[in-house]
């Protein structure tokens, strides 16, 4: 299934993400959980997609797969036309580092490590030099309104601040694909507006964004909304 009805001819638009008959089963036998069932999804370059659905419907499972953090039980996943299953560990690491910015539902900052060092981390693995790394990490932190908090550790930051560090970390490598699992779940309305404004600008700059949310207001901003329910994916609406 493809999306973007009424837009340009599909064959000519390169798909950043191309998911075909993707299934994910956790466990086996009696206790097996079918978190995803034969999901098809394509996302064009520069698209802004919101994923909504009830808790436990399989949204995070899908996003993890898109971020190359987990492998599907069956089905194919092409990222920039490459079948992820064909890549070895190291190549997948490079892919995650260069192409994807991932914002976790649970922040996943490294404990006992300063905000700045957390944001610098992806650049370290990208082989960026120290000084440049520092500058870019500082820039990313100011972008999310955390200038002056560079040296604070995750346990010295509020939930919203931690969320914003996680956003800064995902943006610092200027990835073409931004995957966000409820990035505004822990933010107040002002911070939410800031982060969403940021996403709008990134979208305007041509980045591809896939975002999970519970918040209708957040989903409003996306070009396209897909609904996951009980492991199946349906297109809700297409806008613009």
């Amino acid at each position: 299934m493809t999306a973007g009805t009424g837009t340009a001819p599909l064959e000519q638009v390169p798909h950043v993400l191309d998911v075909r008959k993707l299934s994910k089963v956790y466990g086996s036998g009696e206790t097996a959980v079918h978190a995803l069932r034969d999901v098809d999804l394509t996302v064009r370059r520069g698209e802004y997609v919101a994923v909504i659905g009830q808790s436990g419907s399989g949204k995070s499972t899908l996003l993890n797969m898109l971020g190359c953090l987990d492998a599907p039980t069956s089905g194919r996943y092409l990222l920039e036309g490459l079948d992820v299953a064909d890549l070895d560990e190291r190549q997948q690491a490079v892919l995650r580092n260069r192409q994807i910015g991932f914002i976790f539902q649970a922040f996943n900052l490294i404990p006992r490590t300063s905000a700045l060092a957390n944001v610098e981390l992806p650049l370290v693995y990208a082989g960026v030099g120290r000084r440049v790394r520092r500058e870019r990490a500082q820039a990313a932190l100011s972008l999310v309104g955390l200038q002056g908090r560079e040296d604070q550790r995750p346990n010295q930051l509020s939930g919203g601040q931690q969320q914003r560090v996680a956003v800064a970390r995902a943006l610092v490598t200027t990835p073409a694909l931004l995957l966000a699992d409820e990035p505004t779940g822990n933010l107040d309305s002002a911070s939410t507006r800031d982060v969403l404004g940021l996403f709008d600008r990134l979208h305007a700059a041509g980045r591809t964004i896939v975002l999970i949310t519970h918040d209708d207001e957040v989903a409003e901003r996306a070009e396209r909304v897909v609904v996951v329910s009980d492991g199946r994916l349906t297109e809700a609406r297409a806008r613009r």
Binding site: L69, R90, A93
Partner: protein, 403 residues
């Protein structure tokens, strides 16, 4: 990602987990310090005892009577003054410097006023003092004239003097009763300390041979003959001269039938060397066990460390850390731990050897240092690598789900 970067991560990881890093290192430090200290103890003890044996008088040879093995029931010929005279003959025994006939009586009661104690009385001639390497403390040694005249003069071992006249006293000029027979105290022996030789010289009293024979043992057989060789080098030659003279005098055809026995410090040194070798080996085994225990400690903490940080590994992987970077970080962490722990362990072990233990000092064996550090580094690296490798292979999401 550069090596410098990996090392920086490792150092940061260690500092972020200070307590755990210290505890891990403690295991290594104790293991290595134990190896160094125990082997140094064994080595020091061995050197000390060898020094003591040298102090026994390397030139000293003792001849003792013994029951010949195949003549059960019939006693061999005793050692006599005739034997002494034959051994003292420079013609037959050119390598012998002096020969001292000895009679001794163990458990002899010695009294001074109300005080009494048990001692071993040894009757001999003045050459016994250099021959058995006995040092004078206070007073004088008895003379040939004392021996000829059978004068009842006596020298007390330090313990005996302490028991009878008080600790540190100088009883020269006093009288003692040895089995009721009065003797004049003319001197004391220098304290030998515990365990010099086979009996404790501090518990002996020494008197002229004739006085002991005349008043206590009677003019019968000798308890032993102490022979002094001309030099340490001449000792073996002196021993064979003693054998040939006594074999002739006692009518011995084969060495197995000898009714006497020749003992020397040289032989004692050989026996003790073997014993000490076993002792050092025992200490080394204990040390090795402590090293293994230390190694298990490292392994354990490395496993815990990696398991505890599986989530962190997951985050790093999600951000694009290649498996080699994860593996490198933990490997460098364990290398730093083992190397720093190793250096500190050597320092602690070495410091431990500086503590004096009684009379002897532990002597550090360089080979033990090398072995201890090498083994602990190997253990640290090997067992640090194993869990790190396992963690580096996890899928990011699996690692992230671990709490």
């Amino acid at each position: 990602m550069s090596v410098v970067e990996i090392i920086r991560f490792a150092v940061r990881g260690l500092i972020a987990n200070r307590l755990r890093s210290l505890l891990t290192m403690l295991g290594i430090i104790i293991g290595i310090a134990a190896v160094i200290l125990l082997t140094a103890l064994g080595n020091g003890a061995s050197q000390y005892i060898q020094g003591q044996i040298a102090g026994l008088g390397a030139n000293s040879i003792t001849v003792l009577p013994r029951q010949p093995p195949d003549t059960a029931g019939t006693d061999g010929r005793p050692l006599t003054q005739g034997d002494v005279r034959a051994l003292a003959d420079p013609q037959g025994a050119p390598d012998v410097a002096s020969v001292s006939p000895v009679v001794s009586l163990q458990g002899t009661t010695v009294e001074a006023g109300r005080a009494r104690t048990d001692a071993t009385i040894i009757g001999s001639t003045p050459s016994y003092f250099p021959g058995a390497n006995i040092q004078l403390g206070t007073g004088r040694v008895y003379t040939e004239a004392d021996v000829t005249a059978g004068r009842k003069v006596i020298l007390l071992g330090r313990t005996v003097a302490d028991d009878l006249f008080g600790v540190g006293s100088d009883p020269v000029g006093q009288d003692v009763l040895v089995r009721g027979v009065p003797f004049d105290v003319i001197g004391t022996l220098a304290p030998a300390g515990q365990g010099q030789g086979l009996s404790n010289p501090d518990e002996n009293v020494l008197a002229p041979l004739t006085a002991v024979q005349g008043s206590l043992t009677g003019f019968g057989d000798l308890t032993q003959i102490v022979v002094q060789a001309r030099s340490t080098e001449a000792q073996a030659a002196a021993e064979s001269e003693i054998n040939s003279i006594l074999d002739r005098r006692h009518g011995i055809d084969v060495p197995d039938n000898r009714d006497y026995q020749v003992l020397s410090a040289r032989q004692l040194a050989d026996v003790l060397d073997d014993t000490l070798g076993a002792f050092t080996l025992l200490l080394a085994a204990i040390a090795a066990i402590s090293l293994v225990v230390g190694g298990i400690g490292i392994t354990n903490i490395m496993l815990v460390s990696v398991t505890e940080r599986t989530r962190e590994i997951g985050i790093r992987k999600a951000l694009g850390a290649p498996p080699s970077a994860i593996l490198g970080q933990f490997l460098v962490e364990s290398i730093i731990l083992s190397v720093v722990g190793g250096v500190l362990g050597v320092a602690v072990g070495y410091a431990g050897t500086l503590v004096p233990l009684g009379d002897f000092r532990p002597v550090v064996l360089p080979s033990a240092v090398v072995a201890a550090v090498g083994v602990s580094a190997a253990i640290g690296i090997f067992f640090g690598a194993y869990p790190a490798r396992r963690a580096a292979r996890l899928r990011p999401i699996e690692a992230l789900r671990r709490e």
